[in-house]
Amino acid sequence: MLSVKHLLGIKELTKKDIEQIFKTADNFKQVLQRPIKKVPTLRDTTIANIFFENSTRTRLSFELAEKRLGADVVNFSASGSSVSKGETLIDTVNNILAMKVDMVVMRHAASGAPWFLAQHIDASIINAGDGTNEHPTQALLDAYSIKEKLGSLEGKRVTIIGDIMHSRVALSNIFCLAKLGAEVTVSGPPTLIPKHIESLGVRVEYNVKKALEWCDVANVLRIQLERQHKPLFSTLREYALYYGVNRQMLDSLEKEIVIMHPGPINRGVELNSDVADSKQSIILDQVENGVAIRMAVIYLLSGKRETLE
């Protein structure tokens, strides 16, 4: 059983929690490989996916995970809803909960939104990404995919490249990898790396080539143009030239490193197709593992609501 009632961020999880999620995900992965990919575990549970921000992968992955656990699912996206009429977050969510929903999966553009919500409602909340803060299920599936590929995370070196400043994936990954004993370096243009990030126990290396030489695994992040309100680098071409990861660069390294990307990829910008589609890349394994990890998180949080008795 997890030490938390909600999955808000990796920051609040213990190492034991993460290991428990991984162990449970192993079992769900097995279920997903059967002819019948479904279990009836949560057949009396209803889950609302509330997305105030766009998403394809995460939302689909959550919805599949919920359905394969036998739960009923309702989807809500902010566009075309009463949010545009000025309804507050708490009102929106309480209205959904009034229809007897047991669990909420939420993505929101404001950092901290799920923590705020957790103070006001009783249902378990799973953070599917809040602003530039955390994206815990992504970090879990990233770490799980590395573990699957390399056997363990203890002592492994992971470089996170790109838009560290605006990336919730980066922050959650840093917390998660540290808890599991991996070493982390962040790399990218100085304008996209927050000041004082070393205080989280990570190394900073502005030279991507050197950062790649150091690591076992490179997690390449998307340039989040939608969150950059002022110019932080001159052009995408220039970014691709200095910070993009391509075949030539990987071939010049002494060892074969593992390439990851949380998606969606800007092909030709942060990652070239000859890398993204190569056998070094575990991008599609990440997507596959995402469903198992989310099933594990939902399952492990589902028993906690019986505290009223």
Binding site: M1, N27, R34, G303
Partner: protein, 179 residues
Amino acid sequence: MKTLLKSDQLNITLQRLAHQLVENHLSFKDTVIIGIQPRGIFLSDRIYKMVKKITGNNKIGYGRLDITFYRDDVQSRDIQVPTDTDIPFSIEGKSVVLIDDVLHTGRTIRSALDALIDYGRPKNVELLVLIDRRFSRELPVQPDYAGHSVDTILTQKVKVYWKEKDGKDEVVLIDKIGN
């Protein structure tokens, strides 16, 4: 606390169960053995070995089934981290011998049947248990092979100890109150 079976008695009982299985399934050509996780597998491990020895058939299918996701009380008890399911063969059209240590309310077996059927459609399913707690059933489930039957009340608990796990072979009846 009362001892129901001691080590040597337990061994004789297991031998009897294994022989009964062979009596009905002969060479085990189309029969597979599946133990229920977590505690049923100590019994199924032993029965499997004995059956293999008696029949001389080294190719008997043997699997382990976890039923955590199929329980009907997921919401009302503490969430459990599942154990592994390992069924390295198809159960389609096979005779399945399902094995658990103690049969009590019958709910575990109900879950196990649901879980099993998600792996394929067996020809038939039989149930083998070491201890049958009679008159405490909540569902219409009866064993085809039972090592030992006991009459118990709800507050009592039957505990099976296995050498592999607990360091000794013994079956005891515990009165929960005052224990």
